[in-house]
Symmetry: C2
Subunit: 248 residues, 2 copies
DNA sequence: GCCTAGGTCCCGTTG
DNA sequence: CAACGGGGCCTAGGC
């Protein structure tokens, strides 16, 4: 269907400017060339001229990539406004407000300019914390026999509680779910929620549902008298749903 | 210097395979085409065939971008190993161990294939927490007149303390530095450090150095009797150094 | 807009 | 290797 348009080089800066202005509204523009980059905003940085890849997306996203790393060297998130000019070279100025941030790129030796219409889909990712929380809600007995679900994503002044259960003896079970190994910060988070109830005279106990915990996390957990439920016990079910999902 | 090589299309899958295998050791490879993507690892996802940009870096990084968002739809961090084959289309298989993760991309309608040698530099970003902590170490009096520096990045079982000061009255001042507005989690972190000392019978007080704090953060801060030092008071100095830096 | 928390977070550093 | 915390984190969801 021919969704890419490649600008034939060499060309004048003005031609490049016209090409990019025209195509960047609907297409993702790729530019490879010697780029000098200044960034000022929440922090600041300067990168001396070197060959880099610049990606401009129609939603205002700006990416500057080098030969290494998953992360761009410099960037602008969606919503930034780009403007182009011909000065010391082809200049891209990308501005974002709130927070006010600006990236200025000077391109000199341009090697490749292409504009491609790409998709913008919603990717469903399976196997996140939300999925694990759902499993807990559907099987509260894995935390404690006879426990019943009180609520999900309960808001407190200190954040949302993943799952709230009530044990047969009346105590509240505050459940914090972690998809990956829990850390000391996970336990601290749980502690904030439990203290919120205890300060209101409600008997609550913290329960961490995670596939494991760091040594320091365990220490704090013990000190607070909280419990750890190993979620690997029901990862088989998780894997099964995952398989059915991935194979369409 | 001609650092980009563009594969002329259309071409056979075998030619593409050879081109990518050859160039991907030293160059960043850009492929635009209709891509179908499966990911399995810490989570799992499936993306139906659609036009997308695939970036392969020599360090093993894999990126799949669409028309929107700063974040790639799918990816593999540095260290992944890519292999290529011709099956239902041009197939890229990218495997990472620890954690074991795999991305499989099937490319059918290929629109653009280019390989470019890009730079790999070290970018110095100025204005991060480290810089603010340095300012505190150099000017402990902004926290408390007469305070002296005890240490920096002190390790406790609950994490590293940014700066530790001793007040003229002998009390320890545990300083937590935040480059941006502090949150409830920042205060909780500080609380862990202070409690560490108090449990050992050492009189300690928490001080948060930040350009501001969220309302809930402030509430917890008050409750704990900690102090907030507004770092905007010495951002002028920060800005000055930043200016001298950015203008080379 | 602020605030909270998750993320296939990535990334560097240290033990 | 694990663990911890920063990051210009980004992104989604509430309010």
């Amino acid at each position: 269907m021919g969704s890419c348009e490649v600008l034939s080089l060499p060309t004048s800066c003005e031609d490049m400017k016209r090409f990019v202005e025209r195509s960047s509204r609907t297409s993702t523009v790729l530019i490879v060339g010697v780029a000098e980059i200044e960034y000022r905003g929440r922090a600041a940085s300067y990168a001396a001229p070197a060959p880099r890849l610049v990606v401009l997306k129609p939603d205002g996203t700006l990416l500057v990539h080098e030969n290494v790393k998953r992360e761009p060297l410099n960037w602008q998130p969606p919503g930034a406004v780009h403007s182009y000019s011909c000065e010391e070279g082809f200049v891209i100025r990308s501005v974002r407000r709130s927070p006010r941030e600006e990236v200025r790129i000077v391109l000199r030796g341009v090697e490749l300019v292409a504009a491609c219409r790409l998709a913008s889909t919603e990717l469903h990712v399976y196997g996140r914390e939300e999925d694990l929380a759902r499993l807990v809600v559907q099987n509260p007995h894995v935390v404690e026999p006879g426990a019943v679900v009180v609520g999900r994503e309960i808001r407190t002044p200190f954040g949302k509680i993943d799952v709230l259960l009530r044990a047969p003896d009346g105590r509240l079970l505050v459940i914090e779910v972690k998809n990956e190994k829990a850390t000391v910060a996970s336990v601290a988070q749980l502690k904030r929620y439990v203290e919120y109830y205890r300060e209101r005279g409600i008997d609550a106990v913290g329960v961490l549902v995670a596939p494991g915990i760091s040594e320091e996390g365990r220490r704090l957990l013990m000190k607070e008298g909280f419990r750890l439920v190993d979620s690997s016990s029901f990862t088989s079910a998780k894997t099964r749903s995952l398989e059915s999902y991935i194979t369409r």
